[in-house]
Structures are given as C-alpha cells and as structure tokens.
C-alpha cells in the first residue's frame, strides 16, 4: 500500500516552454504569407448582393482592379452628399475618369497579363442602375471588357 502513497510534499514539474517561440513563429509565417495589406481606404459604403451557385472565386488578385460604387461613408457625407458615388483608388470620381483609371491600371500590369485584366465592380445593393450603366459604358470605351459583379456567396441554404 505504502508503495503508492505520496511522500509528503511534491513539486509540480515546470512546463517546458522552449518550443513555444517556434510554434508562434510558424503561425506568424502563415499569416505573413497569406496577408495582403489593404491598399485603399474604402470611402463608400458597399454591401454587395449575395448570390448562390453561380458565384465564382476570383483567382490571381494581381489581375483584378476594383471600382467601388455606393453612398459615401458618414464622415464624407457633409462634403459629398448621400447620393451614390464612384470611388477609384483613393478618391471619388466621375464616370469620365474611369478611362484614365483603366489605362493606368493596365500600365501597371505585366505585358502578358494585360488581356486578362478584370474589373471588379463592388456595387452597393441599393444603388440604381443608371450609374452602373454609365460605368459599364465607360469600361466598354476603355476596352476593359472583363467585369465581375462582386458578390458574396450565400450561406448554405
């Protein structure tokens, strides 16, 4: 019996934490790889519509340029009003500016990627078609014909 009885005080063995930094470094590297710094500050409120089976993921982010359309966020309302606006890069723009935007985006791409350029239209649900049609017409003029109506995928129904 006395074989199993503890003999008085026993110290709790200390946990070996020497591998903890390695573990955390691994997680750190994972996040460093998948990270892509947000490059523009979105100044419009955009809640894209949701769809189902037809929504495709966009591969190769380097091919994609974004155009945001929606009502300006609260802090910009005073200056720009609440009517939907177009945002290119970091500033509000008129539809006519899209052509220049497309040209400069195209300029920054590799030669072989240029034909595959895609414009991702991040458009708020509540926007009216008029502004969307204007943008599409400008994109046609700029010969940026591949577009994506940005949308989220619905949760499993």
């Amino acid at each position: 019996m006395s074989k199993f009885r503890s003999n008085g005080k026993r110290e709790m063995p200390e946990l070996n934490t020497s591998s903890l930094p390695d573990l955390i470094f691994t997680v750190l590297f994972f996040f460093m790889m998948v990270t892509s710094m947000r490059d523009v500050e979105v100044k419009v409120q955009v809640k894209t519509p949701t769809g189902g089976s037809e929504i495709e993921k966009l591969e190769r982010k380097s091919l994609v340029s974004h155009i945001y359309i929606g009502p300006p966020s609260k802090q910009y309302r005073a200056i720009y009003g609440a009517a939907p606006r177009i945002q290119l890069n970091d500033y509000f723009a008129e539809p006519e500016a899209i052509r220049e935007f497309v040209i400069s985006e195209r300029e920054s791409m590799y030669e072989k990627d240029k034909p595959f350029m895609k414009m991702s239209l991040k458009i708020d649900q509540g926007v009216q078609m008029g502004i969307v049609t204007d943008v599409k017409q400008e994109l046609r003029k700029a010969r940026a014909l591949n577009i994506v109506y940005s949308a989220g995928k619905e949760k499993k129904d």
Binding site: T17, S18, L20, P21, I24, F25, V27, L28, F31, M32, V34, T35, S36, M37, R38, T48, P49, G51, G52, S53, E54, I55, E56, K57, L58, K61, V64, K118, S120, L121, I123, D124, Q125, G126, V127, Q128, M129, G130, V132, T133, D134, K136, Q137, L139, R140, K141, R143, L145, N146, I147, V148, Y149, S150, A151, G152, K153
Partner: protein, 199 residues
Amino acid sequence: MGKGKRKVPGLNQSSTADISFILLIFFLVTTSMDTDSGLSRRLPEWDPDAVEQEMKIKERNVMTVQVNKNNEIFVKNGVINRVIEVSELKDIAKEFIANPDDNVNLPIHEEYDIEGYGVVFTTVKHVISLQTDRTTNYEVYFQVQHELSKAYSELRDAWARKTFGKHFVDLDETQQSVVKGVYSNKISEAEPKQYGTAQ
C-alpha cells in the same frame, strides 16, 4: 587565466515568445483574408461607328426581360408575356433556351458545328435581351443576371451528364468549351435608354 573550462551562460529566451506574439498580432490585424468573389460577365465591344442596326432576328428567337423602375420583372417570349417573380425566371429561361418540346413559338433548333465535337442540334440563334431602367435597383438586376446564369449552367450540366456522363465541373477544358458551345451565353444588354420615365 581562469579555470580551464567555463560554461557559456544560456541566453534567456523567455521573451522571444512575447516578441513573436506581437508580430503575430500585427499580421493578424492587418491581414484581410477575404477572397473576392462575384459573377463574371463580358461586355460587348464598343464601336462608336455602329449605327443602330436593325438586327433581323425572328421573333420566336427572342426573349425580352425588362426590369422597370418599380423593380418588376417583365418577361416576353413566344409563350409568356407577363410580370414574373425572380424565382420563376430560371425555369422560364431554361425552357426558352433549350426548347425541349420543339415548340414553334420558342427558338428554332439548328445544326451547329462545334470545333472538336461535331454537329449538334441546338438553339444557336436565341437571344435574351435584358433591359433596365436608370432607376432600377441594382440588387434586382443582379438577381436577374444570377438567375439567367443559373439557367445556362443547369442546362450545360444536364447536357454534360447526358453526353459525357459527368458533371460539367468535372469535365476537362476542351469538353467544357464544347458544352459551352452548345449552350452559349446569349444575354444581350440594350444600349441605355430611358424606359417609361417622364422626359
């Protein structure tokens, strides 16, 4: 000189974990994992010289989908001519595109030569004309586009299973392009006009 052997004192590494934690948290905060997704479309070429050409399309080959300023969806083809719900659109479009019963009021089946496969009987000449008003809600327009896409991909999938015995997504690239040729996307968006609004 000291005593021969001297132990090198171990470097205290207990703070490495904290340092890397800080780095980790920084990347966690700045990371944006959201992958972009959406509905792909290709716009038609812009041709400034194009005069409004009267396209000679037989009436049976055309389906008009109009979304007006009240966001009502009006569909007109050989067999239907009324306001519908979004949920009905897919089946109406499927029936129109495939015309399974060879209805004389729906698109005509014609021989069509597909590269790498051969001749198929399909409704090559069908056109779905999508018209919107400037005040149509984008959400409704998107749902219409989505339903039409769904109609095409379900037809493609059915044809792929019938012909190749596989789902469309499991086919290789050449087979996929064959199937896309059989039911190719013929959604045409009208040049912007003002419909039904006071001038």
